[in-house]
Symmetry: C2
Subunit: 334 residues, 2 copies
C-alpha cells in the first residue's frame, strides 16, 4: 500500500513524463512537495522497489514503468473533460443528417484523431444489424447486372453480377421480386439462412433457371455481409510526431502491425466501459498503448480505439471516449 505522498510523487512523475518525455528528477519534485530532494529520493527508491518506477541508468531521473502507468490509470488519474469547442465539433458531425452512418463514424474518428493527435480507429461499423430494405437490380450492357442491397438505415452495398446470357431480364426480375417479398426486414447477417429456408424451397415454382439465379444472389449476399466487417483508421502516422518514435525501424514495425491488425482481437473480447491496454498489453509494441470503448448507436455496434505512445495523455483520451460513449450512443437517434 502506498502512502499519500508516494502516490503524489508517482502521479507527478507520470504526468510530467507524459508532458516532457524526459525522466523526472528528485529536484523538480521537491519544489512542489515542500521537502528536500533527499526525501523524495528515499520515496523514489521505495516506488522503484514496487516496480512502479524505472531508471535508464544510475544517474538518470525516474520514469514510470508499465506497472506505474497502470497504477496511475487505475488509481490516480482523473479523466479530463473535453473542451467545449471539441464537444461542439463532435456534436456537429453526429447531427449532420446528410451523412450516412458509416460516413459519420469515419468523419468522427478523423476528428478524434485531430483532437488527440493520436491514431484512431473504428472497428466494426457492423451493418449486420441493419435490416434489408430493398434489393434492386439494374441491367447494364452485355450480361451484367448491377445489384444493390439497401438497408433501413440507408446503408448501400452494390455488386456487379455476371449472369449467363441465357437468363432473361424477366426471370431475373421475378427472382428479385421474390427476394423482396420474402426477405425484406431481415437483419443482414441472417439473410443467408432466410434465403435457404424461405426462398430456396419455393423459388422453383416461380423462376425457370432458379439454380443459377439463387446461387448468384446467395453468394452476393454472403460477400456483401463479409465485406462489411472491417477496420478504418484515421491519423495512422500521427505518432511520427512523438519523440520516442524517432527511429524509422520503430515506425515501420508499428505500421506493419497496423496492417496485420491481429491486435484487434483483443479489442472485441472485453467488457463494456473504457478499457486501457498499456505497452505489452496492447499486442502492438511495448511502446504504445490503446484506449478503446464500444459504441452502440441505435443498434449499430462497433469499437472505437485510440492508439498512441505509452506516454499517452490517458486522462484526456479516457475523458474523450467516455464522452463519446455516454453522449453519442444514447441520446442520438441516428
Amino acid at each position: 500500500m502506498l502512502s499519500e505522498r508516494q502516490k503524489e510523487i508517482l502521479k507527478y512523475i507520470v504526468e510530467e513524463y507524459i508532458k516532457s518525455a524526459k525522466p523526472v528528477s528528485s529536484n523538480k519534485i521537491c519544489n512542489i512537495l515542500n521537502c528536500s530532494s533527499a526525501t523524495v529520493r528515499n520515496e523514489m527508491v521505495i516506488l522503484e522497489e514496487c516496480h512502479l518506477l524505472e531508471k535508464n541508468h544510475f544517474a538518470s531521473g525516474r520514469q514510470p514503468s508499465e506497472e506505474g502507468y497502470r497504477y496511475y490509470v487505475n488509481n490516480l488519474m482523473q479523466p479530463k473533460n473535453m473542451s467545449g469547442e471539441d464537444m461542439l465539433k463532435l456534436q456537429t458531425i453526429f447531427h449532420n443528417n446528410s451523412l450516412d452512418l458509416s460516413d459519420t463514424i469515419k468523419k468522427s474518428i478523423e476528428l478524434v484523431s485531430e483532437i488527440t493527435n493520436y491514431t484512431a480507429l473504428v472497428l466494426g461499423k457492423n451493418a449486420k444489424n441493419n435490416r434489408l430494405k430493398k434489393v434492386q437490380t439494374v441491367p447494364l450492357e452485355e450480361n451484367k447486372v448491377l445489384t444493390m442491397v439497401i438497408t433501413d438505415k440507408g446503408f448501400v452495398e452494390h455488386k456487379i453480377l455476371s449472369l449467363p446470357s441465357s437468363i432473361s431480364t424477366n426471370e431475373l426480375q421475378k427472382t428479385v421480386d421474390l427476394i423482396n417479398r420474402l426477405v425484406i426486414g431481415t437483419p443482414l447477417d441472417e439473410i443467408s439462412e432466410k434465403l435457404e429456408y424461405s426462398v430456396k424451397p419455393i423459388i422453383g415454382k416461380y423462376v425457370k433457371q432458379h439454380e443459377i439465379l439463387y446461387n448468384t444472389f446467395y453468394d452476393a449476399f454472403n460477400e456483401i455481409n463479409h465485406k462489411n466487417n472491417d477496420v478504418h483508421f484515421a491519423g495512422k502516422t500521427k505518432f511520427l510526431n512523438q519523440p520516442e518514435f524517432n527511429s524509422v525501424d520503430k515506425v515501420k514495425d508499428i505500421l506493419n502491425k497496423f496492417d496485420n491488425i491481429s491486435f484487434v482481437e483483443k479489442m472485441t473480447e472485453e467488457d463494456n466501459g473504457v478499457n486501457v491496454y498499456i505497452g505489452s498489453d496492447s499486442d502492438i509494441s511495448d511502446d504504445v498503448s490503446i484506449v478503446k470503448t464500444k459504441y452502440n448507436i441505435d443498434g449499430d455496434e462497433g469499437t472505437i480505439a485510440i492508439i498512441g505512445p505509452k506516454r499517452m495523455e490517458y486522462d484526456k483520451v479516457v475523458g474523450l471516449l467516455d464522452y463519446i460513449k455516454q453522449n453519442i450512443g444514447g441520446q442520438n437517434e441516428k
Copy 2:
C-alpha cells in the same frame, strides 16, 4: 554528345547506385572497363561537367544527378520484362470475373506494390465519362431519403438527403421522374449544366416545392461528382525500407504529401505512354520519382502510378507498367 565509354560509365554508375545506394568510385568501374581508375576519373569529370553526375564532397564517389537519371531513363535503360510468375498473378486478378472493375483495379495495384516494393496508386477510375443510367430514391425513416445515382458502367454513388417534412413523397417522385426523363444518358460531369438548362426552367410546371427539391438534387450531383475523383493507394509505407528515408522527418514530409495529393495534377495532364517524373519533377520531394501510365479498360479511364525513391529500379517499373498498359487495357474484355 557522349562517347560510348561515357555512356557505359554513366549506365554503370546509375545501376550500381540504384542497387547499393552508395556513391560509386572510379576503382569499381575500372575493373569492368579494363582501364585504369585514372582514365575513368577523367571521364567522370566530363560527365560531371555535363551535370549528369554529382559528388557529395570532394572525395566521395559519384552518383547520378537528376539529369543523370533522366538521361539514363531516356537513352540508356532497357525496360525489363516481368517475371512469368508475376505476369500470371496479374492476369489472374484481371480475369477474375466476380470482382467489379474498381475492386479489380485496387487488387491489382496492391499486387503491383508487392512486386515492386514501392508505393502504388490508382487515380481516377474517372466515372466522369460514365453516363447517367438512373436516379433512384428510397425513403427511409423520418424525412430522410436515400438517393442513388447509377451509371451505365455500373458505378453507384449514394447519399442521404434530408428534406423538410413538408415535402411529400409524391412531389419527390415527380422530381426524380423529371430528372430521369431529361438527364439520363448525360456524362456525369455535364449533369450540372444539363440540370441548369433543361430541368430548372420547366420544373416549376410539374413540381410544387420545386426550389428546395431542385437545389437539393443539384447539390447532391455536384457533391457526387467531386467525391468521385479519388485516389487509392497501396503500400503507402513501402519506402520506409529505403535507406535514403532514414529520418522520420523525411518520412513525415512524404506521407503528408500523400494526403494532400496536390501532386496528382501532374499525372492527369500528360500524354499516353509510360511517363517518368524524376525528383523535383515529381512535385512530391526531390528524393522520389513517379512512373505513371494511363489505362483504359473498356472505356473506363484512369492512371496507375508507382512512387518510389529517385533511386528507383526504373527498368523494372517501366517494364511492369508497359506490360499492364499493353496487355490489360486492350485484350481484356471487362
